[in-house]
Each structure stands twice: as C-alpha cells, then as structure tokens.
C-alpha cells in the first residue's frame, strides 16, 4: 500500500485538527486500545486474571478493563486455567458466539498445553479447539506476564491488514 501523502487544501479554520494516517493504522489503533476481554476463568489462573484487573496492576491502562460475562461484547478471550474435556465444548461455544474480529490468549501452562495434567480428563491445550494468538507461560503467570501478553497482542493487532480483511469480497471484486 502506498505511503505517499498529499496535502489537504489549506484552511485556517481546521488547521491542526487533521491527522494524516493510514486506514489500517487508525482501525488497528482503535482496536488494540479497546480490547474487551471475555474472562474464561477456569482455575487458579483466574485469580491472577482478577489481580490484573484490579487496582494494583490495572489493565484499564490498556483499555481492557471491560470484563463482561457476555461473549457478544468481547474482543479477546482469555482462557485462564485448566480446560477439562467436560468444559471444552462450552469454551468453544462461547468462542463461536464472540463477534469478529476476535483474539485469544492462552494464559498459563494448562491452557497452553494441558500443563501438569497429562490426564484423561484434561484437554492438552486450548489450541486443539480454537486458534490462539498469544501463549503466556507460567503456573500461574504473574499479572505482569498477562500484561506482557496483552502488549504482545496489541503489537500483533497493529500489524494486521484490518481494512483488507474487513472488505475482502469488495477488494477481490475490484481487483478482477
């Protein structure tokens, strides 16, 4: 995509009120700073997730403090804890109910790989069912680690071609 910018016609009334940017950059900037989490707290990682949301660590600084137990308002699912087979399809169902664009953070060893549970009862990583954007190590990870995961996800979102992804059919039709 071309990065060459042209000057707007000079108008002293709106001088300084216009910022030139790329559409993708603007969309990504808005998306990454209002990541509303879907808290999928399944085990002890959820305690650290709650700590991250509380005042000492405060993910409101990242625009991610809006934890609602409704998948329809969520952008990022934080799978915090051990996913048992009994719970697995429920997690998948809630993920399916989240509107696009959506992302997933696998928080901790259990959500990433089954962790210490090499067991008949535990799903060996939530990536068997849903695509994961960021894996966070730790058992459980400290709130700093979750915030680091959030910042990694923000960096990932920054690099996405949001507009092209949103208008994929239109772009395909135009390029023919």
């Amino acid at each position: 995509m071309s990065t060459e910018l042209t000057h707007a016609a000079y108008d002293s009334k709106i001088e300084g009120n216009i910022v030139f940017t790329q559409l993708d950059a603007a969309m990504n900037w808005m998306r990454k700073n209002s990541l509303w989490p879907m808290p999928m707290g399944l085990a002890c990682c959820a305690i650290e997730l709650m700590a991250t949301a509380s005042s000492r660590f405060d993910i409101a600084r990242f625009g991610a403090e809006v934890m609602r137990f409704s998948p329809r308002q969520a952008d990022v699912m934080i799978v915090a804890g051990t996913v048992t087979y009994k719970m697995a399809l429920a997690v998948k169902r809630i993920w399916d109910q989240m509107p696009e664009p959506k992302w997933c953070i696998a928080m901790g060893a259990c959500a990433s790989s089954g962790g210490m549970y090499r067991s008949y009862a535990v799903l060996q990583g939530i990536d068997h069912l849903i695509p994961v954007d960021v894996y966070i190590s730790g058992c459980p990870p400290r709130p700093e680690a979750l915030i680091e995961g959030f910042m990694r996800l923000q960096r990932k979102i920054q690099g996405e071609q949001s507009f092209l992804a949103q208008k994929k059919e239109l772009v395909d039709a135009l390029s023919q």
């Binding site: 087979y85 009994k86 697995a88 399809l89 090499r118 067991s119 008949y120 009862a121 535990v122 060996q124």
Partner: protein
C-alpha cells in the same frame, strides 16, 4: 466402648457376617459379607450411633478375586469412635446395595464410585456420573485404564483424546538429598 470392642460386639451380634477384623494403630477394619452389609450398617447407624459417614471409597485390586473393595469410614460424634467397614465386590457382579437411605452423604460418594470405578449401587436414588459426562464410555480409576486416557466422542457433549505422556509419568523423589535428584523423573516403563 472403643472401636475394637465395637468390632467384637458386631461380630457377636451378627454371626457369620464379619469375615475378618484388622487392627492397625488403634483403627479397626471389618470385612463384611455382601448380604450382611445393610443390616450391619443400619445397626451401626442406629444402635451404635455412628451418625457420620466420613467417606465411601473403592479399591481396585486388579488380578485378585474378588477384584474390588468398597470402603466405608464411619464416625460417631457421640462416642468419638472411628470404624472402617469393607465389602468385597466381584468382577462378575458389580452390585452393592446403597447406604444413601442411612446417610444422605453417601449419595454423591456412591455416584463418584460408580463414575470412576464402575461399581453400581442398587437402590440408589439418582445413580448418574458425577465427574465425567453422561455417555463417557470408561471408568477411569480402574487399574486397566491407561493414565493418558482413551479417545471417545459424544457429539455436542464432550470428547476426549489420549494425552501424550512423553516417557512419563514423572515422579518426584521424596527424601532426596539435593534438589537435582528430587526433580520429577520418568519412572516405570522405558
């Protein structure tokens, strides 16, 4: 009356019911015949005031006959006595009469044993699986069930896969001299 005296009294009261009495560190365990389980338990709960059923559990002695043992831990809040009642369950007849009419807490304990070990409790008010989902085809606590599990599929309910054990299970060594030798290591089959 101590637990040991209670055990002897039960043996006298129900001739032929008590197969053996084991004493270990002041604890008494009685092995009962299946037919005498309900009469003895009713007597314990009523006359002997064993008003608390601490736990019901089960043991799989694979390779022995009878294969399973169901263990009841009784406690009396009045006499402060602790009594352990056991009953053997053969693999050919996996039925044990329920005691949930005597102690309501037995309801969920027996459901767990049914789920994990596959022993059925006749007369139980609601014998469903309690931990695994309805329709899961195995009983995971049996000795012949592999540690990593077995694949299964119940569409729209749940599925399971075999977990990669990667040489495990990995077991820590207790009483090791240093941290390195205490680390979890693969034991058993190479």
């Amino acid at each position: 009356m101590t637990a040991a005296e209670t055990a002897l009294a039960l043996q006298e009261k129900f001739p032929g019911a008590v197969l053996s009495i084991t004493e270990f560190r002041g604890e008494s365990s009685l092995m009962l015949t299946m037919a005498s389980l309900i009469p003895v338990m009713t007597y314990c709960q009523g006359e002997l005031a064993f008003d608390l059923l601490i736990d019901v559990s089960s043991v799989d002695n694979m390779g022995e006959d009878p294969r399973y043992v169901v263990v009841y831990e009784l406690y009396s809040l009045t006499t402060k006595n602790h009594l352990r009642i056991k009953v053997s369950v053969s693999e050919d007849d996996l039925n044990v009469p329920t005691v949930s009419q005597l102690w309501p807490t037995a309801d969920w304990h027996e459901r767990e044993i049914y789920d994990m070990m596959g022993i059925k409790f006749t007369g139980h008010p609601d014998l469903r699986r309690i931990l695994m989902w309805d329709g899961y085809p195995y009983h995971p606590l049996r000795k012949d069930f592999p540690m990593g599990g077995l694949p299964s599929d119940m569409p729209d309910v749940a599925f399971s896969e075999t977990a990669p054990l990667a040489g495990g299970p990995f077991v820590t060594s207790s009483g090791a001299m240093d941290r390195v030798s205490a680390e979890p290591r693969a034991k058993g089959e190479k």
